[in-house]
Symmetry: C2
Subunit: 310 residues, 2 copies
C-alpha cells in the first residue's frame, strides 16, 4: 500500500487551494516528530511541537492540539495517496497517522470501528453483502472467510457496481478536506444509494458536532435529497479524535423501513454473539446504539432545522 521512506517528506493536503506553502515534516533522532505547516489564517500554527511527542495540529481544528508521547516510530512513508506513519505510543498502543491526522490508536479504536459497523449492520435483519472501504490493515476482520477485499478507488468501485447490489455500505473516510473530499459530495452519495438494495443502509464518517456543524449541515442536506428511507446522525466518544467525539450519517434507501434507533439485531454486553467474532466487543451494545442517536440541543436544532428545510 505504501512505499517505505526514511524521514520522508510529508505534505498536508488539508486545505484547498494547494498553493499555500505547505512544508516538510521532520523526524529527528530522539523519536520526536516535528510537523510544520503554513496557513494564511493561522500563521502561528507553524513550528508548534512537543519534543518527543506527536502533536496533531491542523487548520481543521485551529487553536487546539492533541499530543501523544512517541516511544518508537515503526513506519513512515508515502503511499500513492497519503502520507503514512505508524508509531508505538507511550500509553495508547500503536497509532496510525495519515496526512498528519490520527486515524486510530489501539487503545480507543474499538469505539469508532465497532460503532461505524454495528450501527448499520444491527439495524437491518440479515446483512450479507457489505462493501468495506479504507479499513486499516490492523483490522482482524480481513481474515474472516466471509470477507472479499477489494483494494482500489472506492468512488470508482461503487460507480461500477450493479444497482441494488448491497445490503450495507460502510464508508470509513478521513476528513473532507484532502483526498477523501469526494466521499462527502453528492455524486458519491448517489453512487452509494444506487449500489444499495431497497431498504439498504449506509454508515459514513460525519465529523464532530463540536467542531464542524457547518460540514454536518451540508452532509445532512445532501443525504436528505438522496436517501429517501431515513436520514440520521449518530455519534460516539473517541478520545484521540479532535474534540473527543466523532459522528456518523446513518441513512437508508426507499424500501422496507429501517428504524436505526432501535436495532433489530440486538447485541448485549453478556451476549454470546459478542464471542462469535474474532474477539468480544469492547464498546458496542444495544443501549449505546440507541443512545448514539440522542444529540445535544445545539446539534439537534441545526440537524432538525436542516431536515425541515428540505
Amino acid at each position: 500500500m505504501a512505499e517505505t521512506g526514511s524521514a520522508a517528506a510529508t505534505d498536508f493536503p488539508l486545505k484547498r487551494p494547494r498553493d499555500d506553502g505547505e512544508k516538510e515534516a521532520n523526524n529527528n533522532n530522539n523519536g520526536s516528530v516535528l510537523m510544520e505547516m503554513d496557513s494564511n489564517k493561522q500563521p502561528d500554527c507553524i513550528s508548534s511541537v512537543i519534543p518527543g511527542w506527536f502533536s496533531e495540529i491542523s487548520p481543521m481544528w485551529p487553536g487546539e492540539a492533541h499530543s501523544l508521547k512517541v516511544e518508537k516510530i515503526l513506519f513512515q512513508g508515502k503511499s500513492d495517496y497519503q502520507n503514512v506513519m505508524v508509531f508505538q505510543s507511550s500509553t495508547y498502543g500503536k497509532v496510525l497517522i495519515l496526512d498528519g491526522v490520527i486515524q486510530l490508536t489501539e487503545r480507543d479504536e474499538c469505539a469508532y470501528q465497532e460503532m461505524i459497523t454495528h450501527l448499520p449492520l444491527c439495524s437491518i435483519p440479515n446483512p450479507k453483502k457489505v462493501s468495506k472501504q479504507f479499513f486499516p490493515d490492523v483490522a482482524v476482520g480481513f481474515e474472516d472467510p466471509r470477507v472479499t477485499l477489494h483494494i482500489g478507488d472506492g468512488v470508482a468501485f461503487l460507480k461500477a457496481v450493479p444497482e441494488g447490489t448491497y445490503d450495507a455500505v460502510i464508508v470509513d473516510s478521513s476528513d473532507p478536506i484532502g483526498p477523501a473530499q469526494e466521499l462527502f459530495e453528492k455524486p458519491f452519495f448517489e453512487s452509494v444509494a444506487k449500489a444499495l438494495r431497497p431498504g439498504g443502509v449506509v454508515s459514513t464518517q460525519a465529523e464532530s458536532i463540536w467542531l464542524h456543524m457547518h460540514i454536518i449541515e451540508d452532509i445532512v442536506a445532501n443525504c436528505r435529497q438522496i436517501f429517501k428511507g431515513s436520514v440520521n446522525y449518530a455519534w460516539t466518544t473517541v478520545p484521540t479524535y479532535p474534540s473527543g467525539v466523532i459522528g456518523f450519517m446513518l441513512c437508508s434507501t426507499e424500501g422496507p423501513p429501517v428504524d436505526f434507533k432501535h436495532p433489530v439485531n440486538p447485541i448485549d454486553a453478556d451476549d454470546s454473539n459478542c464471542n462469535s467474532s474474532k474477539g468480544p466487543l469492547k464498546f458496542y451494545n444495544s443501549e449505546i446504539h440507541t443512545a448514539a442517536f440522542c444529540l445535544p440541543t445545539f446539534a439537534k436544532k441545526v440537524i432538525e432545522s436542516k431536515n425541515e428545510k428540505i
Copy 2:
C-alpha cells in the same frame, strides 16, 4: 479569592506523596505557558511544551496532552488552596485553569455544567434546597435571587448541616489527587447522605471511563455502601477534558425511589423551560439525559460487577 501574581510560581499538587520534586511553571513574555513537573513514573513528561500554547500534562493522564493556543493571560495567581490561571484562548473563549488542569472553557462548559446540574435536578419532582459548591465565578446562576452562596470548606459545611436538609447536593470537584481528594472519600459521601432528605439526590464529578476506571470502581463501591436508594454512573462529552469525556455519580438516599434514567422534569430543546433561566440550554435535553446512563460495554461490565460484589 486569589492573590494577583505576575509570572507567579506554580506548583502541581497532582501527586502524593508531595516530596517528589515539583518544579516551577514559567510564563514567558510572548504569552506562552511553560509547565514542568517531575514524576518518578513518567520522567519523560518533563519539559513538554508547545510555545505560545497551554499544554495540559499530568501524571493523571500520562503520555497524552491537550493544548490550547493562548491569546492573552488574563489572570495568574495563587489562592489559599490552588493555583489559578485564566487566559483568553484562540478558539475556545476564556479558559480557567486550576493547578495546571483545564476546569472550563467558554466554548464547551455548557456540556459539563448543564449535565452535572440537570441530571439530578430533573430527576426529582420539586427541587428547592440545593447545596452548590466550587462553581466558578463565571457562572451566571449566582445572580439568581433563589441562590444563597456560601464560600468555605464544603466538607466542613456539609458535616455541620442538619440531617435531611437538602433535596439535592451537586459536587463540582476537581480531580481526586490533590486538594479535592476528600471529596472522593467515604466520610464525605456519608456527610452528603446525611445532609440529604429521604429520596434526595447527589451528583458528583466521577472521572473518565477511558482513563480512570479504577477510580470509578472505588467510587461506585463507596456509593453502593452509603446511598441506599440507587447508584448510577452517567457521562457526557467535554472536548477540553482529558479523553474528551467526564462522568458523574448520580445517587439517591433511601426514601421515595428516584429513577434517574427517566427524568420527572422533562426539558426539551424547544421547551419554554429552556428560556426561563438566564439563557436557553445549549446542551441538555431529556433525550441526552437518558442516553447519558448508557455505557460502553467495557465500562458497563466493571461498574455492574462492582455493584454485584457489594
